[in-house]
Amino acid sequence: MAAGSTASHRLEGVIEVSSLTKRFGSLTAVEDLSFKVQPGRVTGFLGPNGAGKTTTLRLALALIRPTQGSVTFDGRRYQAIRQPAHHIGAALEAASFHPGRTALQHLKMLAPEVGVSDQRCLEVLELVGLTQDAKRRVGQFSMGMRGRLGVAVALLGDPGILLLDEPTNGLDPEGISWMRALLRAMAAQGRTILISSHLLSEVENTVDDVVIIAKGRLVHHSPLADMRAMAQPKTVVAASDPPALATLAQSRGWPAAPAPDGSLIITGPSAAEVGAAAFAAGLQLTQLASQTVGLEQIFFQLTQGGGLR
């Protein structure tokens, strides 16, 4: 990462998506989308299949033109930045290569346009663990190796901003943890990292912030910690004396909702706290179970109905 890193941080690294809309004929893939991505953090760009993640990234990279709105990097659109690959590195889903070129040839063919030396090509291959395969034709590469080569392309210009579309696709567990370490290290250097995924669980150990979209619209944007807080513990509890249990919950100020089977669903305290309170009140419990909603479930609720159209 070291080489040229002084040159790469000329941009501060704020990505701003404003009122972005993209229509493909009658289909609206992205609709009035606005959010900001901050440097020094890894931001997860999440949404179900077809939510518009890849479309948003392609819009940001000026590969397709917005119907409305814009994406800027420190106030400048991608196409207005000279030698943009020095500032913004990107790997889109299923990066494509000519099967007859070797990994090294592929990087070397891009190097002059990106504005880096041939030496840098070897460095990024080392960085993504493809040194051994540098002289093999990409046609023989596995999916994971192609993914790594795609990341190598993104890193070529030693960019301060990194946009990766589904970077863990096709990676083995070792590869996933390598990717996580790489992204964390780059964010720690003050770079801006945006990674897309359709699974929160895949990135929850990597990201600091989450931007969630569904049907092309923003449904949630916050630090991951805030989203975790939304995942409040829930406890299902039943007692031989139901009215006494209800009174207990009320006296503690716990929101409780009766379930059809006569039990109570208490939000807030953990199952252990509820059990201890019942014991102290001398209540005999017939049921006590934790029903905490996981992050993934919250994610699902947020994006509900936002699946494939």
Binding site: R58, L61, A62, L63, I64, R65, Y78, Q79, I81, P84, A85, A90, L92, A95, S96, F97, H98, P99, G100, R101, T102, Q105, H106, K108, M109, L110, A111, P112, E113, V114, G115, V153
Partner: protein, 284 residues
């Protein structure tokens, strides 16, 4: 732009396509040139052995005598050498066109546009990079034509023509023709970015459509001058004389300098159309 040019050359030389196409061109030309050199060498021998035929000024000086060239020094040789440009311009056309269509086919165009989002610069680099590529193909194609032909001409007792300045002028003009054809190819590739469609169109145009259209003035109406503006006709005019002249196919042709402009115009027009229709559009 220099960087973009360098990238273009690395793209070209990192796949097998350039030398596969070069081999095809060389094989095709060597075979045809050898056959033609043998035949023309023989014809010339017959004609020159009959002084009556060649000394008859009425026959040889006549403007429309397609065989007048046989009376010139190295005339038969030059006719064979001109086959390189007249027969093989489809190869620089293809190498130029494939430099665009390959990128769409293998979707490397995405990474090209990420590195250089000014798409007119990408297209411009491809057009300029095509010129030396076409020149290199020209050198290869000329060598593949001239070497076997010269040997056969010498064997049949004809003059291989290397002593005549006109022969070297033909080589030079032929190379210019090759160079510009590669740029025409880039324009065509930009317009027809689907590789299969492109190859079909390139072959149909150069091998069938154009020869047919160019026969129109001779066969139907001598006053139809527009066929001399066709790219193939302009290319032959750049070379100054072509194999098709023998068959009296052509009407009049453009002067060399104008022919260069016309062919460059074709390259520019196709590139502009291709830019408007494809390159500036969304990349999917």
């Amino acid at each position: 732009m220099i960087a973009a040019l360098k990238s273009e050359y690395r793209k070209l030389f990192s796949t097998r396509m350039w030398w596969v196409l070069m081999l095809c061109a060389a094989g095709y030309l060597a075979l045809n040139a050898a056959l033609m050199a043998g035949a023309l060498g023989f014809t010339e021998n017959v004609l020159t052995s009959d002084p009556e035929l060649l000394s008859d000024p009425e026959t040889m000086a006549a403007q429309d005598n397609p065989f007048a060239f046989l009376g010139e020094e190295g005339g038969a040789a030059r006719m064979v050498y001109s086959m390189a440009g007249s027969f093989a311009y489809v190869f620089p056309l293809l190498i130029g066109a494939l430099s665009v269509t390959q990128e769409y086919r293998h979707k490397t165009i995405t990474q090209t546009f990420l590195a250089e989002p000014r798409r007119q610069v990408v297209l411009g680099a491809k057009l300029i990079a095509a010129l030396p590529m076409g020149l290199a193909y020209g050198i290869g194609c000329l060598a593949a034509t001239v070497l076997p032909a010269a040997v056969l001409l010498a064997v049949t007792g004809s003059d291989p023509g290397f002593g005549a300045a006109a022969t070297w002028a033909l080589f030079g003009r032929s190379l210019v023709n090759f160079a510009i054809w590669a740029a025409v190819g880039v324009g065509l590739g930009a317009l027809i970015k689907n590789q299969v469609a492109l190859i079909v169109v390139a072959l149909a145009e150069t091998q069938a459509l154009e020869p047919m259209l160019r026969a129109v003035p001779t066969l139907i109406n001598r006053d139809w001058a527009w066929t001399k503006f066709l790219p193939g006709a302009a290319g032959d005019a750049i070379q100054g004389g072509s194999f098709y002249d023998i068959m009296s196919f052509d009407g009049d042709s453009l002067p060399g300098g104008w022919a260069v402009l016309v062919l460059v115009g074709w390259a520019a027009a196709l590139a502009a159309l291709g830019y408007a229709a494809n390159l500036r559009r969304d990349v999917s």
